[in-house]
């Protein structure tokens, strides 16, 4: 279980990293926290020629208040997100999700940007980014561009990040008055990838839902938003009948995959259970 030979380059600036990526093209992989990459290297599931280490680039880590939003640097460790007062205050969905990511030792290394850029469909943060309408900041040699979360996740481990580009940060709109969020996942062991999970955000007028967003993870090849099901909530309060309607709608709207822990029908069933368990309490039921 030793990695295939690779070259290692430590970038000292963002420009340096972008130059290295331009130089090595498809042969290069970015090393951020290594949360997923180190395992795939050691298992020889990937064998890049060059690792471009971005751990020592100043300014890529940290959480900043930018007014209406929080900007989370790509190299911000999960453990720093977990303990951030800004996150707890302004992004409760992220706060609820982050301690479901693996285990403390891994959260000390794994990064927010790494999770977003890797785009594992079973990961928590991509689903949260979708539910929160986050904006991804992507740098290339020609400058920085922004991509909304809805356009960012393109498929299995595929994102809008183009060859030669680096995700530098993610902006999360601060939660506004009257909005609530909910998060839940079903994992056979704490810290494992969930069988399925939900990230939800909605605006409330009293106990009446408005502008609800439901995003499931490990339910498809990317975080899966369910707008048709969410629309059933808008203008409505919570009821047992609503739970059944949502469950029925989710069975139509979702097309989740099979794996060793669950098949598609089981995931559809659990999606309905999660909707009930998350949305009911959000509405105060």
């Amino acid at each position: 279980m030793k990695p295939a030979p690779f070259a290692y380059a430590k970038a000292s600036t963002l420009e340096d990293a972008l130059s290295l990526l331009a130089e090595h093209g498809d042969d290069a992989r970015i090393l951020a926290g290594g949360q997923s990459l180190m395992a795939t290297l050691n298992m020889r599931l990937s064998a890049p020629q060059v690792l471009v280490d971005i751990n020592r680039i100043d300014g890529l880590a940290g959480i900043n208040d930018t007014g209406d939003a929080l900007r989370i640097g790509a190299m911000t460790r999960h453990s720093d997100v977990e303990t951030s007062d800004l996150i707890a205050q302004h992004a409760p969905l992220i706060a609820a999700a982050v301690d479901h990511i693996a285990h403390p030792a891994i959260r000390n290394r794994g990064t927010f940007g790494g999770s977003i850029a890797f785009a594992d469909p079973a990961a928590e943060l991509p689903a949260c980014a979708m539910a929160l309408d986050a904006t991804m900041h992507i740098a290339g040699l020609n400058g920085e561009r922004d991509v909304p979360a809805a356009d960012f996740f393109e498929g299995l481990y595929e994102t809008a990040i183009q060859p030669g580009e680096i995700l530098t940060g993610v902006s999360i709109p601060k939660i506004a008055d009257g909005w609530k969020s909910g998060f839940m996942e079903l994992a056979r062991r704490r810290g494992d990838y969930a069988i399925i999970g939900i990230a939800a955000q909605a605006k409330f007028d009293g106990s009446t839902f408005g502008d609800a967003r439901l995003v499931y993870f490990n339910a498809g090849d990317r975080p899966v938003s369910t707008p048709q099901t969410a629309a059933l909530l808008n203008g409505q309060g919570w009821s047992d009948d609503m739970a059944e309607k949502l469950a029925a709608s989710l069975k139509r709207e979702l097309d989740p995959p099979d794996d060793l822990n669950a098949d598609g029908p089981m995931r559809k069933h659990l999606a309905g259970v999660l909707a009930k368990r998350v949305l009911g309490p959000m509405a105060g039921a």
Binding site: M1, K2, P3, R44, L186, R189, L260, H269
Partner: protein
Amino acid sequence: MNEVVADRWILDRPNSYIGRSVPRPNAPRLAEGRGTFVDDIELKRMLHATYVRSPYAHARIKSIDPAAAKALPGVVAVVTPQEMAKIHDPWVGVLTHLEGIKSAPQYALPLEKATWQGEAVVAVVANTRATAEDAAALVEIDWEVLPPVTDAETATEGETPLIHNDLGDNQAWQRKADFGDVDAAYADADHVVEETFVFGRHTGVCLESRGLVADFEPSEEQLTVWHNNQCPHMVQNILADKFRLEEHKVRVITRDVGGSFGIKVHTYADEVATVGLSIMLKRPVKYIADRLESFVGDIHARDHRVKGKISVKNDGTITAFEIDDLTGIGPYSMYPRTSGIEANQVVNMIGGPYRFDNYRAVANVVYQNKAMMCQYRAVGHPIKCAVTEGLVDKAAKILGMDPAEFRQKNFHSDDSYPTKSAQGMPFENLSHEECMKKMLEAMDYNALKADRDAKRKDGIYRGIGFASFIEVTNPSAMFYGVGGARISAQDGATLRLDAKGNVFISTGATEQGQGMEAVISQVAATAVGVPPERLKIITGDTEHTPYGGGTWGSRAAGIGGEAVAQAGRQLRVQILEAAAAMLQEDASTLDIRNGVVVDTDTDNERISLDEIGRICYYRPDTLPDGFQAELVATKHYVPRKFPFAFTNGAQASYLEVDVETGFINLINHWCVEDCGTVINPLLVDEQIRGGVVQGLGGALWEECLYDDQGQMLNANMADYLVPMAAELPDIECGHAVSPTSDSDLGAKGAGEAGTCGAPAAVMNALNDALSPFDARMTSMPFTPKKVLQALNKI
């Protein structure tokens, strides 16, 4: 009344350390990261081996092209099966007392075909492990893929391909048993209850994976192997035999071992091959199984399908048990213990806690193209326990009896010993009634039932499950030796007083992380009369310890400990003879207490052990004429009165089923067991707890998943789910104490009780929780998917 013929002198010693939670002497070293595990061994000129493993479950090796691998810089050798076979003899995993068992010759590397996915086929040796792995990827093997045998149910059917043509069929062994008259019992019974149980294939995931450093020195034909096997003397014998070496020129050293659980008690072909590489290359060669290799290279266990029956009378009397067991064991029977023992244990132990006279069993052990199966912690125990206890629970329910009460009615009563099981297994002194009583008190059973019933009204589904059990420990020569295996059932200990009054102990028992060194130190300190800090324990070296069996079958404390007790007493006698000569006293008036020779009656200090050492070693001229001090004592011990010391106990599980998600939340777990004399209460409890956790693993999470082509689908730590702390309940332990009269110490084993009973307790609790629904579950592991299917939710 039991006839106690053992002399319990050691339990009456002053300054006794027996029954105290003495800290483990090796704990600080391990906690500080200063252990010496196999991968910590670095020798000059050492090379690293890895293996090209078969990607197919069943495939003929048409040709091997090592050229590209050999050409890689840093590669020293690429060795094919034909080359390896020239320097070793194959082995066949059979035992004569398992009548009719058959297996095929197994070579270090397979000569004609690979018979499971992950089998090591070609060895690659290089200056570093990484280079060896690079080269392994360059070895080209031309395969002829053959249809695999994966389903045990059809393994012996006519159209199923043969794994070994010379064997004639895929049946490894069949065991039958028939006691009393089962058919008459059925005819006479009020109810005959049936159930089929399925036990998933799983494995023991050791923190330290298997590994060895083999160093062959050709000028003396001396082979030294640093190995994390449980049984150094067994390995010495096997390696000498298979490589045609003189046994005294094979030295096996086991330093620290990071867990074994029965995984490291076998002859693994890749380990034999590594020894062969060192002999061929005349250099030290290291091989450490990595985690991916471990999942397909280590033995797997369980994988049984058991159809069971129990017959009962309306008054709650059990009259008969019957089973039909089927188990698939991979493509070979493991050497030297065979892969028939687990089924044999199941047959021998069904119904163990209960009085009944009629029993019938058939066990079919079949070959298949999956990883090899063999003995893992609590061999056969979780299966026989879950089958027995599942049938008992179902019968109690049909009779409308409380499951605890039904068990209590049918137990061998505590005053009925010695007695025998329906299968004729001798029970010396068990305590089912006391254990169950203590456990019901610890659980507060009535309050727990009330809690369960109240919550059910709120749609919260909790269940209580019991498992009573018997456990085989302290195995005598009747276990393996009688069948021809060169596996020592006896163990020896040598104790030596040094010139400073400290005591060196060398023992054939081995430390695997279970705390054996603490137990040995407590027994020696008590037997000799010295504090534990004056002891130095030497284990795991065939050149420096008495011949012994090592660690397996819950024997280290009960057998190794007794040898130490006897040697310790003998050394004390010899020291006191020297003291008596110096003091011109009668030795019978002296004792050793806390490292000092004292007058037995008054406790007055007479002479210290370091003064005795000084005089005996440096000034023997001052001793009386004709007196020669002997400050080394060796004793050996093997159980003789009983083939093994049965222990017993009871477990209970309280859990909650989320009927919408299928998730099971373990709320609490209890185990009250009887391992005879408890030497170290903390270590016994941790053995129980660790064992319970491995049992819970098999019940809820762990399973080696295969597809129909014999590919293991979850051979990594992300997808193979070992139990982890967050999901585990508190495990409350209690004890009854029925010492064996087969030894003075009276200790039985405690290593496997937890694993034995936990799956059954969970299964019964689960079915109790599901009792409001038309759902019953008997196929382990109990995954959320299976729960939802049982509830017809998906």
